[in-house]
Symmetry: C2
Subunit: 106 residues, 2 copies
């Protein structure tokens, strides 16, 4: 049960977060993580129609931007939103993006 490397809260860069969220696939992932909580890479990717390596690429972008936390347990990896860290670093940002994302994917 280990954590994958990720930026410290103070190191999270605004433009990287915005860039991570500016892709429709990743925005959907983030919205799902917000709605359903922690999920495995497998479950996140299963009904996107995208190749698993493509999804792995997106997971990495989100993690390196500081948007998600990746926890490994056995052969599974669990992604979850870094809500508190993002709120501390950029207050209100994630909430407003998530609210805005709602009327995008009904």
């Amino acid at each position: 049960m280990s954590l994958l490397p990720q930026p410290a809260t103070t190191e999270i860069q605004l433009t990287e977060v915005l860039r991570a969220l500016a892709d429709p696939v990743r925005l959907d992932l983030v919205a799902r993580l917000d709605r359903d909580g922690e999920e495995t890479c497998f479950r996140l990717g299963v009904d996107t129609g995208l190749h698993k390596s493509t999804m792995s690429h997106h997971y990495r972008i989100l993690r390196e931007a500081g948007v998600v936390l990746t926890r490994q347990d056995g052969r599974r990896k669990y992604l979850s939103l870094r809500r508190a860290d993002l709120e501390e670093r950029f207050p209100g940002l994630l909430d407003s993006v998530l609210a805005a994302a709602l009327d995008r994917t009904p």
Copy 2:
């Protein structure tokens, strides 16, 4: 005194706004427009060190994303933030981004 074409408020897309804001140059422009209000393209570009055609490219991205309004008066073009429209479409988003941008460019 005319307006350049821009998306209607209801047509503004979240991912396009995020993409427009995810570039350091454009984020600085938006922060300046927020701080100083309406500005001409010339004044916005003069101390960026970038070519005027490059700046023109950024103005267009911001306008087509629905982030700025462009008003032409004589040979000058004035850019301003579409604050109210963005607030109506994505409540809180612009404010949180601008607040977050503050500790980026001191």
